[in-house]
Symmetry: C2
Subunit: 798 residues, 2 copies
């Protein structure tokens, strides 16, 4: 095969002289605004000679990526307008915000959502000044930017966001500018493979535009210096048909870009038409564009004898000493004047009508496209009644069941009821996590070759709505794009490897925090639901590398208004929580629930009551009715609850006079004061459960210190003794692992004996017994490779 860059197939100079002139003028306006945003606090139209006072005190922002972003925006506008396209814009180099915010202002959208940034001189002054200014808007494409669902402050996720947005949006084209710096990140490098999950009948299209401006902060980029044929081969290898648009002369670049866009849009439409008319969805070679332009395009060619345009020196503010260096003040003025703003804006500072006419109208403007304010398009899920999927629990603590299996059945019917706006995402583990019932309704989407043996349990389909790829980054990126464009989803992954997406979680939490609390025009989007399964306590065959319950630690660092954490102890509580999460908006809901067989404790009715409270006393496991307990045994998490209950049973058997209260926590934030988190507890609530002076033995699913971090403000904190995972593990049986981390039933009994005043002497024999049990059970595991059969047989106190 001959893999080189494709040549456009359409007319070679599609722009008339007049069109070219007008388009370039619009672009000049964008670039003028970009420079203005970085430098100016006043004199926005340069009506008077530029003075020091017009310049901001601190110059902040990124010029380098901005001109190319506006260039792409401009050209997309042309085809949107001509073909009435439904298109949104994803700015991978989100730090090149001026190049994105400028167009949103020129299209009028900015003034619509922020009326004080009006389309006149005063509005323009405010518009320029606010950029990267304390108390105003940031220097990246933040949630405050209309038309955006991608910040790009942290790099690497533009392409997966783009693909997520185009799913189930057959008419949408997501134009995604990928920076060549960003392209070096792992998440971006694998996100190119997202094309293999797009069904051209049902989904929209992504048009990736790799902008090779050649440099990062201080280095050339890898992709910009690969030989052209290797670069073309790379994208052919990724499954695309690459078109190269390269140069620095604006006029010829406008023609080449227009010609190339005509070609690729036609190609996208042809792919879709063919698939939709034939009803046959095959994996096409989608077009993409490699746009090679100088960094800081149209900026000063040289500053202080150093190359500026086309160099890393243009990355941020090309020259900063404007307030102290008159030569540079002049250079700035000349630079601004090179765009001839007087030809672009009228006397009142409004873009002239001829240029205004270049932008599309209403919601066709990328800055006002509804898909980029997805909450406006969001429809509530049609949820089946979760009660129908409940496990029957005749007697608590007797039935073993895979906790996630009923959830899978529930999700199956959620899928069935919402076949155009709900998807499930997971890294190759839907079945491993026992959610395979979903396949009855919708299989895994697979657009690559299908082999005969796939029919035998492969669960693959062109029409599948389950997304599996061995890249947590790509999956969560897709999900974010899907949610922010107004749909719903459910992500599940191995608990330990949720850390792969820690940073993406952080960024999404920050996005939601700002959107929800500071950007009133953004409508609420569906929450991001994350199930952590295959948890730390049941890594029997994967061992130490797969043991890490710390993702939730990270979650507790983010804004309380957008974070929730649930640890349902059994299948029915998991159902209740899942239903609740699927109804919620503007949050990240983290649910921790293991996939293995576990004892069932609550009927569905009990589960509903228990989850509504988030934390509660389990009466049947307690024997302190009517009196003050001697000790509170508390638990949070499935295995933790099993062991805590077993400990309670041992205590009941051996120390029947001891009054034990059993408390279970489903909503982890109940352990925090309500002053810190909306789901938190009042002092009164907390004290009434955990007492103010009795020992509390708390068996926790995660790292024990997390409970102290949350609960340290409560009165009884000093009596709180927490057990949990503390990095002691290998390949272990479940009981062995609990014992190694001192979160097992025997250790919990010892904890009670050690902490309840007066018990030490009375229960010395029991303590010895427990120590012996630990030794015996470890010995059994090491001899037989399994826990003793009776391990799960005595858990619920009688």
């Amino acid at each position: 095969m001959n893999y080189t860059a494709q040549k456009p197939t359409t007319a070679s100079n599609p722009l008339s002289t007049e069109e070219l002139r007008a388009m370039n003028a619009w672009w000049r306006a964008c670039n003028y605004l970009s420079v203005g945003m970085i430098y100016l606090r006043d004199n926005p139209l340069l009506k008077e000679p530029l003075k020091i006072d017009h310049v901001k005190h601190r110059l902040l922002g990124h010029w380098g990526a901005s001109p190319a972003l506006s260039f792409v925006w401009l050209h997309l506008n042309r085809v949107i307008k001509r073909d009435d396209l439904d298109m949104i814009f994803m700015a991978g180099p989100g730090h090149g915000a001026p190049g994105v915010i400028g167009p949103t202002y020129l299209e009028g959208t900015y003034s619509e959502v922020y009326p004080d940034k009006s389309e006149d001189a005063e509005g323009l002054r405010k518009f320029l000044k606010q950029f990267s200014f304390p108390g105003k808007i940031g220097s990246h494409v933040t949630p405050e930017t209309p038309g955006s669902i991608h910040e790009g402050g942290e790099l690497g996720y533009s392409l997966s966001h783009a693909y997520g947005a185009c799913l189930d949006n057959p008419d949408l084209i997501v134009a995604c500018v990928v920076g060549d710096g960003e392209a070096e990140t792992g998440p971006l490098a694998t996100a190119w493979h997202s094309n293999k999950f797009i069904n051209p009948i049902r989904d929209g299209a992504v048009l990736p535009i790799l902008n090779l401006n050649g440099y990062k902060i201080a280095n050339p980029t890898i992709l910009a210096r690969i030989s052209p044929d290797r670069l073309a081969a790379l994208f052919h290898g990724y499954g695309y048909t690459p078109y190269f648009v390269e140069g620095d002369d604006p006029d010829s670049m406008h023609q080449i870009m227009a010609q190339t866009l005509d070609t690729v849009i036609a190609e996208i439409r042809a792919i879709q038409k063919s698939a939709r008319e034939s009803g046959k969805a095959e994996l096409p070679s989608w077009p993409m564009i490699v746009l090679r332009t100088p960094k800081g395009w149209t900026g000063p060619k040289e500053i202080n004898g150093h190359k500026a345009e086309g160099s890393w020196r243009s990355h941020q503010v090309p020259f900063s000493d404007v307030r102290t260096n008159p030569a540079h003040l002049k250079l700035l003025e000349d630079w601004l004047k090179s765009y001839k703003s007087e030809e672009l804006f009228d006397a009142n500072g409004r873009l002239i009508p001829e240029l205004r006419a270049l932008a599309p109208q209403g919601h066709r403007r990328m800055s006002a496209n509804l898909h980029a304010n997805g909450g406006l398009l969001r429809k509530d899920l049609k949820l089946p009644d979760f009660r129908n999927y409940a496990v029957e629990v005749k007697e608590a603590g007797k039935v073993l069941y895979e906790n996630t299996k009923p959830l899978g059945e529930f999700l199956r019917d959620v899928m069935r009821n919402n076949m155009t706006n709900f998807r499930v995402f997971g890294p190759d583990e839907t079945a491993s996590n026992r959610l395979q019932s979903i396949y009855e309704v919708s299989k895994k989407v697979w657009m690559e070759e299908l082999l005969p043996e796939d029919a035998d349990g492969g669960e693959l389909s062109r029409d599948g709505r389950v997304m599996e790829m061995l890249s947590e980054h790509t999956l969560i990126g897709w999900l974010e794009g899907y949610l922010l464009s107004g749909r719903h989803g459910f992500f599940h992954t191995y608990e330990a490897f949720a850390h792969v997406i820690d940073s993406m979680f952080n960024q999404h939490a920050k996005w939601l925090d700002i959107s929800k609390n500071h950007v009133p025009w953004r409508a609420p989007v569906a929450s991001q639901n994350i199930l952590l399964s295959s948890t730390v306590w049941r890594q029997d065959h994967n061992g130490f590398s797969h043991q890490d319950p710390g993702f939730i630690d990270l979650v507790t660092n983010k804004s309380p208004s957008v974070t929730r954490i649930y640890l349902p102890p059994d299948a029915n509580t998991l159902l209740v929580i899942a239903d609740q999460c699927l109804r919620s908006t503007d949050c990240i809901n983290v649910i921790v629930a293991d996939k293995q067989k576990h004892l069932q404790f609550t009927t569905i009715e009990e589960a509903i009551v228990h989850c509504a409270k988030g934390v509660g006393i389990w009466g049947r496991a307690s024997n302190d009715e009517g009196v003050e307990p001697d000790v509170v045994m508390a638990s949070c998490g499935d295995v933790a609850t099993q062991e805590a209950l077993a400990a309670t049973a041992l205590l009941r058997e051996h120390l029947p006079d001891l009054k034990v209260r059993f408390v279970n926590v489903v909503d982890l934030y109940k352990m925090q004061p309500i002053t810190e988190h909306p789901c938190g507890s009042t002092d009164r609530e907390f004290d009434s459960l955990f007492t103010t002076n009795k020992p509390v033995i708390f068996n926790f699913h995660g790292y024990p210190w997390l409970i102290h971090k949350l609960a340290y403000r409560f009165k009884n904190h000093e009596n709180l003794h927490v057990r949990g995972y503390k990095e002691r593990g290998n390949i272990n049986t479940p009981l062995e692992l609990a014992i190694l981390n001192q979160a097992d039933r025997f250790t919990l009994v010892i904890d009670v004996i050690d902490r309840v005043p007066g018990l030490a002497a009375k229960a010395a024999h029991l303590k010895e017994q427990m120590k012996n049990q630990i030794i015996l059970n470890l010995a059994y595991a090491h001899e037989h490779g399994t826990d003793k059969d009776e391990f799960t047989n005595w858990v619920w106190p009688h």
Copy 2:
């Protein structure tokens, strides 16, 4: 260009019949051991008919990837032996451990390091039984595996580990098997670009072997179903020359693999020879192999009517009901017997001499190569005296200096003294983090095209020892490979984006924990030194998305024996800490220090004393000499210390009678009890600093809850009031950000007034003043875009 798979250039059937027979026998032995590890607890040589009692109770492990791993190992042995190559093996699909552990046993190494797993029937029984058995070895390539420096429990890092190991090892070839599941991860997808950082004169080579076995846990893999020409194009695009070895017939596959290995080894040697003889290092097209083999190769073709070999059903244990299903017990016996172990092992269970002779000898065995137990090769760094780089501090709190700049000068000379075993790694930010002095000695390595303008400050060189790529994953992967093979390094990154490598940190910490505490034959390796700079408090121009000090939260979840966290408050303390970290072994040292200009507090002599203690009273900032303080003002972190000192100055000025003790924490673990962490404090130490009953106002760099998590066991914990970052931020001036998070000097003064008994009435006026200061300073920032000039002018109490 025509991009298809290359054809080998060497003789087409290089193996004689005899060689072929022997090699295949060795491979049969490997596969026999693999199946044995997964299934057998007894009867290791099948001397008697297979019975239920011979089979493990729980069957755990991954068969699917194992045969191909052994196949590669076998073939590498042939060329190692023939050419006396220095080679190590990286098992990307580390869960295919049986395929790696088997060869280490057959080579004799396993018995050398674990004498009870001797080369006889009893040793073999123990060897098979221990695999994936509670209390024994795990199911992945864990640190217990000789010859390995890569676990592969979490997927995605094999290739960056491989490239890290080959740096500065000119004679080493790192054979890296990449799984096609793993290849879908982001980190792996971009790690292919590592070839662009390898200098063929100075560095060794990596031979990537992409094993397309077609399936993950339950899905086909993306790369296995790309058309062959696109696949070839992809690797051409990545800069390689790909050779395809495809098939399932062992005999012909042996020949093709041998032929291809001959070709690629010759190619590697030719590249190196040409570069070394000419002295001219250019970027070559390194060879790589695409090895397409059936998953579970040589296993049962079909089980219960389902395809097994060549299917995802072979991923783990192909059939598990051996103890209950006699037909499957028979199937297992037949499968084991198909390898004819009686031809491979002698009567005593020892591999027959003819097959033993196939492996290399001594340290040429990949299982015994010293590079894979790098601690044995590690030489202490030749460190210059860090005192020589000290900032002169005539008066504390008066001089402003970029804290990381002297560190850069120190690292420059560390580099100068250690030009073959020390490297610095960072994502495009060495200069941004003010470490650019290093370039005076060694620039950034850049093997792609060099342009004339690079000479103007580009700081690029073929010989550079500074590694920059916009992929934290790749960088930390390189560093881990470099350290584990016996060298030293320093990684620096933006604090917020350290979360990108959270999961890699977790895995490395686990690796070190096991190696250090449970694998006595592993010699200590140099610590992983991580500088977090561009911190949360100085994201003036990047804003909210770049504000996250939570990486250290994660660190505190990992084993205390391998984790250290330092927050030096100024340049001199940073120097002391850096020196200490560069001398340490088997740890991950995390240093948090911002790059911006900060006030300097300690002379180098003071810094030495202060850092040796890790925490201490700053006498000059305190006025409680000889008496009990009324309040303890404590700080940890550069900006936090500045604000706390400024608060102390305000208190001194306005409330001169108030006795304030100032405590600064450099070693964060001093806040934890010594029973929990080796760097911790005794009760006596802690109480003597923080008192047992006085209010403590603690201004912390990170999330405030972390301090509670660490310190909750100490007596005075209930009086500990912690300020820190709590996710309130945008684009902010430094003071504005501190104010928003209530970690500013004014709020701290208010905290003192509110918490010292009796002060509320006396200092009501001061409290009002402080509130006004907050309002005034915010207003100033919002008007001018900067903090007031006097902001840093009054910090140290007089």
